[in-house]
Structures are given as C-alpha cells and as structure tokens.
Subunit: 226 residues, 2 copies
DNA sequence: AGAGCTTTTTAACCTTATTTAACTTTGGCG
DNA sequence: CGCCAAAGTTAAATAAGGTTAAAAAGCTCT
C-alpha cells in the first residue's frame, strides 16, 4: 500500500483529494497545518508528500525542507495557486520533484504521482545515497557497510538486498518483489539463495542490536531501525 | 553549464520548466513561438532542445528540421499532448531523440534529459576530453594517464577500457557492452582478456585509494570516484 | 625478411561470490 | 499436540573473477 502525506489547509479540497486518492488505492494521511504534517511524517513512513505552499503554522516550503532533512529520497509535489508562481523557484531549490498549479484535474495529479513513483521505484540509483542504520552507514554505490570499528566490503548481492531493505526500512519488503528485482526470476532455488543472504546480512548487522531484519512469515522481511 | 533551448507557448508550463531546470543547474532559454526559437538557436550554442509540437509561427516539427539542418548533433526532445501522439512518427522521422507526452512529471523529464546527454556525450565528436579521477587526469585521445608524480602512456586497449569506465563512472559498465565495443566479439577468451586489463588498470590507479574499479558480479564493472 | 621491441591473448592457478544441498528450527493451523 | 510449509543455518559445489607469466601477434627499423 502506497502511503501519501497530504498537507492542505483547504478542508474541502483536502477531503476531495483524500477520497479520490483512496479510491485509486492509495492510503492518505491528511493534515491541515504544517506542524501536524511534520509530526505525522516523523511518526510514520510515507512514499510521497503532497504539500500546499500556503499552510498555517509551517508553510509548505519550510515543511519540504524539514522533510528533506529527514529523508532525502521521499518525493515531494507542491500544490500551488497561480498567484504563487514566484514560489516555484524556491520550491524547486528545496528539492521539489514536481509542481502542480491549482486548479488541477484529479487525472493530472494522479498521473504525476504515478510518474514519480514509477521513477523513484525503478530508478532509485541517486548517486550519493547513504543510509544510516544505527551505528552503521551503508553506501549502495560503493557497496560498503561501515561501522565505527570496521568497514565491510559487501558483495553485489549482499549490497543489492540490503539496498532494497533500506529503501523499504520499517516496512515490509516482499519476497517476490526482491526476488524479481535482484534475482530476476522468483523460483524455489533463488528464494533459498535469498535466505542465505539474509543470514549473511544479519551476521554483519548483529554488531548493533537495535537493527534487525525481521521475517514476516509468508510475506517477506522488514528492516527495523531507529 | 549545459544550455537548453525551450520552445513552449504555454507560458505557465514554460516558466515551470525553466524554474525547474534552473534549479537543476541547467541554463534555459525560453521562447514562446517557433520563429523566436530558431532565431535564438542561430545566435547562441545549445546542448539540447526541448520543443513543443504545437507552436505559433513555426511548428515544432519544422523547427526541429531547421535545427537539424544547422546542427546534426544537438539532441531534440519533443513535448507533446496525448492527442498529438500521431506526430510521434513524424517527429522521430525528423530525428527526435526522445518524446515526452504531457502531462509529464518533472522527474521524468529530467531523467530523459540526463539519459540523452549521457548518450550523446558517449558518442562525442569532441576528442579533446579529459577526465579527472582523484589525483589522475586521463586523456583518451593521447592515451595518457597522468598523476602528480608520474605520467603513464597507456596501450590502446588499456585506454579504451578506461575510457568506457570513465564515461560510465559511478555507474555500471556492462561486460557485454564493453566486450562488444572494444573486442567486437564477446566470447570467453575476450572476457578473460578484459579481466587482465582490469587488473592492469587497477595497478595504475592504486596510487589513489579513493579510485576503485568495483566488480559487479555477473554484470560488469563500476569505476568509483569522487 | 627478421631482430628486438611492445601489445595482446592464452593459460594456469588462485581467490571470492553465488548457488545448491542437507539438515535444523520456527510458525501456523487443524 | 503434531503436521507441514516456510525460514534459519551451515557447508559443499559451482561459477565468476583476480593475478601472473608465458605464448602469440603486431610493430618498427634496418
């Protein structure tokens, strides 16, 4: 289930969007001011944020900055009125992924959401990604898992699997998805191979007991951290 | 600085695109009709053109033809509405490098722009390239790898392989691709020959430990730098 | 043409990565 | 409880890659 954080102070529009996105199969968490939105962001994991620029308490741009500070990789789409066009440059500077000007059609919004999700799911190799997992930092590009003491050079498969787990940290990484992504084909043997790699990763990560790879029986794995 | 010529008559979309591309570090010259666009093209040098199909004065297709007549090598991406999909065939016939259908996400656009720039930079007429790799500079044309201390004259194969790695630095250079490009045929023996050259290059590059040639098991090699 | 050189390929042997297999443990469910 | 399927673990077998040296193929120059 794809989770969307919506920050929109116009209650009518907010409800309309929530209903529409729900109908399209997205889970929406709707907040009417910036403060509530950032609190919600801190407490749950989202796949995408829709932020109005004009918001009470904390405006959309500041909100986006805070979100970016926490998670580099969650896409942000701004909702803006025509009269606020000047905000666009500022919005893009803080790392907006897209912009949509009110009034917009639901169809257009859904299209942009899907385009972004497609891209971030398929093309996630943002060059300088780095994940912080307790005492570890993991760089998928160089396939290195570093802790205060040691630095571990991961093999390709180890790194690919850990990368997927990180991208889905604190939520479930489905077996099928991982198998199709990393092993291309999801047959019995590849599944067993994946199990072996889970064991290897657990061995590396057991240095920090706050990090665990949890099995979700019949579904997949969850990387628990923070 | 990469310079983009944008021909788009929808002022809102034009401003949006300009802002976004500026934020991404591109310089954009935005024109709202075909005539102004071709004039601008004649007066300055651009690295890439984004052309709306429907334009006042001179339409996008004719514009592309004129651009192609002047410069064979400048990539062109067409922006088009869904209803204009038939123009695609015509567009590709005049030599479009890519096509993007409105409404599109900014993410998608940037991805296509970067993909094309990467591609056209890989097939460059400009042989005066120079790559900086940590303490090294590498000139493919003269086949020289220079560090502060030494200057290494590379053999042809060494240089070709390092060149391909450089063109794909920080992303994967696929074995097959490298073999077909440098060795023409990708059989077992050529693959082993390539391995030997990887060893040679690693030997040269080990003077700077921040530069590494990483093997991606079963897929190829990644040159890591910066 | 062939001596003396460089470059490239082939070969042999070694190391590491990944898969397969066998056996053990755990979780869900009648 | 007891069964079965799913997952955990470990070790082995296989495949891919690393390294080195020698053989073969190309040059160059007389």
């Amino acid at each position: 289930m794809i989770k969307i954080l919506l920050a929109e102070d116009d209650v009518n529009l907010g409800i309309l969007l929530t209903d529409y996105l729900n109908a399209k199969g997205y889970s929406v968490s709707h907040h009417t001011d910036g403060k509530k939105a950032i609190d919600a962001f801190s407490e749950a994991s989202f796949d995408l944020c829709l932020l109005d620029i004009m918001l009470p308490e904390i405006d959309g741009i500041s909100l986006a900055k805070k979100i970016r500070a926490k998670r580099e990789d969650i896409p942000v789409i701004f909702l803006t009125a025509k009269s606020q066009e000047d905000d666009k440059i500022e919005g893009f500077r803080v790392g907006a992924d897209d912009y949509i000007t009110k009034p917009f059609s639901m169809e257009e919004l859904i299209y942009r959401i899907e385009a972004i999700l497609r891209r971030t799911r398929n093309h996630p190799l943002e060059d300088s990604e780095e994940y912080k997992l307790g005492i570890f930092t993991f760089q998928p590009l160089s396939q290195v898992l570093r802790s205060d003491n040691k630095s571990h050079k991961l093999t390709t498969k180890e790194s690919e699997l850990l990368h997927l787990l990180c991208k889905n940290r604190n939520e479930i990484l489905e077996r099928n998805y991982a198998l199709k992504t990393i092993w291309v084909d999801d047959n019995y043997f590849n599944a067993r191979s994946m199990d072996v790699y889970i064991t290897k990763l657990r061995k590396y990560l057991k240095e920090d007991p706050s990090i665990t790879i949890l099995n979700v029986h019949g579904k997949g794995y969850k990387l628990l951290c923070d």
